[in-house]
């Protein structure tokens, strides 16, 4: 199963980080791939509730992402489905964010995974982490040859 995991140590208490994750006001401050603004943030933060976030990139292009909250456990965990709005988009994927109190703040672990199907749900995740370095090495060479 394809997945991406990122970890951040944030000098802020978990409750503050959590609020930034599940409120429209918070999300509007950070969601997007560059310094461009969030232009729409609609967030219904309860299990089964949906969100819609539209952001404008510095290039001027606008993109919209939507999803549904699967799990909300303040101030520890948020899980949601995630999808680009519009045709020709990637299939729905899943985001899990886990917050852990550490000495001077919060450790945030962010995982973006494709929603696993029944066949791949078991067993592949562990192996994948170790594969990344090799995959990148192989791919870098493969790309040079194309």
């Amino acid at each position: 199963m394809t997945s991406l995991t990122l970890v951040r140590r944030i000098k802020a208490r978990p409750a503050i980080v959590f609020e930034a994750l599940v409120t429209a006001e918070g999300i509007a401050q950070w969601w997007g791939p560059d310094a461009g603004p969030v232009v729409v943030a609609e967030v219904d933060a309860r299990v089964g509730g949906r969100f819609k976030v539209r952001f404008r990139m510095l290039s001027g292009s606008e993109h919209e992402t939507t999803g549904e909250f699967l799990e909300i456990v303040p101030p520890e965990r948020v899980s949601m489905t995630w999808q680009w709005a519009g045709e020709d988009a990637d299939p729905e994927s899943r985001i899990d964010i886990v917050l852990r109190a550490i000495g001077d703040g919060t450790e945030l672990t962010f995982t973006h995974a494709q929603l696993p199907d029944a066949k791949t749900r078991d067993g592949h995740v562990k192996g994948w982490n170790g594969s990344l370095d090799k995959l990148e090495a192989i791919f870098a060479k493969g790309e040079a040859g194309v």
Binding site: M1, T2, L4, L6, R8, I10, K11, A12, R13, I16, V17, E19, A20, L21, G26, Q29, W30, W31, G32, P33, D34, A35, D90, P91, G105, T106, L108, F110, H112, Q114, L115, P116, D117, K119, T120, H124, G127, W128, G130, S131, K134, L135, E136, A137, I138, F139, K141, G142, E143, G145, V146
Partner: protein
């Protein structure tokens, strides 16, 4: 197969060290099945099974000339997998940097009003 299924297969195929070694070997040059089997302390049927998985994932192609099967690397699925990772890594790295800055500013505000 849709894109998600293709990606899953690619990543699943790459979780095994023998299969990664086979791909690394094929990166240098095409090879016959027996050449691929040589560095591994496993029997030919086991190698054939690994090749079957790599083939299903679209990572290799096999062609037969006489009694020799030549195995070649097929880089497209790997490229798709890397594109997926790169795109989201860029997106979320930037987003989480901004989230960090925002939360830390809120924390500073909160501490100030605590006093």
């Amino acid at each position: 197969m849709n894109q998600a299924e293709r990606l899953d297969r690619t990543f699943a195929a790459l979780t095994d060290p023998t299969r990664r070694a086979i791909l690394a070997r094929l990166e240098r040059a095409d090879a016959s099945v027996s050449e691929l089997a040589k560095p591994h302390a496993i029997k030919l049927p086991a190698i054939m099974k690994h090749l079957g998985i790599l083939d299903d994932a679209g990572l290799i192609t096999r062609s037969k000339t006489g009694r020799t099967v030549t195995v070649r690397l097929s880089p497209k699925p790997m490229r798709e997998a890397m594109e997926w990772l790169r795109r989201y890594e860029r997106f979320w790295n930037t987003s989480l940097d901004r989230l960090t800055a925002y939360a830390e500013a809120k924390e500073t505000q909160a501490r100030r009003s605590d006093k």
